[in-house]
Subunit: 136 residues, 2 copies
């Protein structure tokens, strides 16, 4: 079902400062910077290796999901994303096994991907994202 | 520096129940079960793909690091581990860049690996593990 650990999403207060920190500490390359108004974040994808990334997320407002996470938990791991061949198929299969889906249909993710989130309480307390990569 | 996202470590109250849940929901294979007395956990590695895993962690006691994490945060992502070619080299380089190391020298990790942890406050709030895989 899973093709890879696609990315670790990390919530931060200052995207540019965190990009500077992670690229320097771990010699990671910034692949994209994007603003996702729907999710209320500006973000960057830093390649770890192959198709696996660290995603840095800064909220666009305090009342966005990532803004609320930061206020409650502080900076740290916000979600974990797994690559799947087809996000709609994966949502159907996983949903049929009793996991609540936070999205009724796929949304737009980083780098043209299609994504959906699973309820963390149904997946060991981990906010879990399914990612179908954009076609090359 | 990083070869892969090696694993996501997830703290849980009941290892066997969580193994059952994750293998059923996501069709993951259990590669190993181990007890690590030094770290105060019993654990299982579930293969996501290639050399990337979900690591499920149940504390051996309430006063172990994972036991304290569970009491404070509840179940969820405890740490993220990145594969490196040589853990001693990586500790030296990352330490020289101002990150506090939680280990003075490498410790024994899952599946015969050598590991070291970085202070989460110096790495965006993410408890970060470096993993050098065992030689085949």
């Amino acid at each position: 079902m899973f093709l890879r650990i696609d990315h670790i999403g990390i919530a931060c207060h200052d995207l540019e400062a965190k990009i500077e920190q992670f690229t320097t500490l771990f010699e990671l390359e910034v692949v994209t910077r994007e603003v996702n108004e729907e999710q209320g974040v500006k973000e960057a994808m830093l390649r770890v290796a192959g198709d696996s990334y660290i995603q840095l997320l800064e909220p666009l407002s305090a009342d966005s999901p990532v803004g609320k996470f930061l206020a409650k938990r502080g900076e740290g791991v916000h979600h974990v994303a797994f690559g799947v061949p087809d996000v709609t198929d994966a949502m159907e299969v996983i949903g049929s096994r009793g996991v609540r889906l936070l999205d009724e249909q796929p949304r737009h993710g980083s780098m043209g991907s299609s994504i959906a989130f699973l309820h963390p309480k149904d997946v060991g307390g981990m906010l879990t994202e399914l990612v179908q990569a954009a076609k090359p």
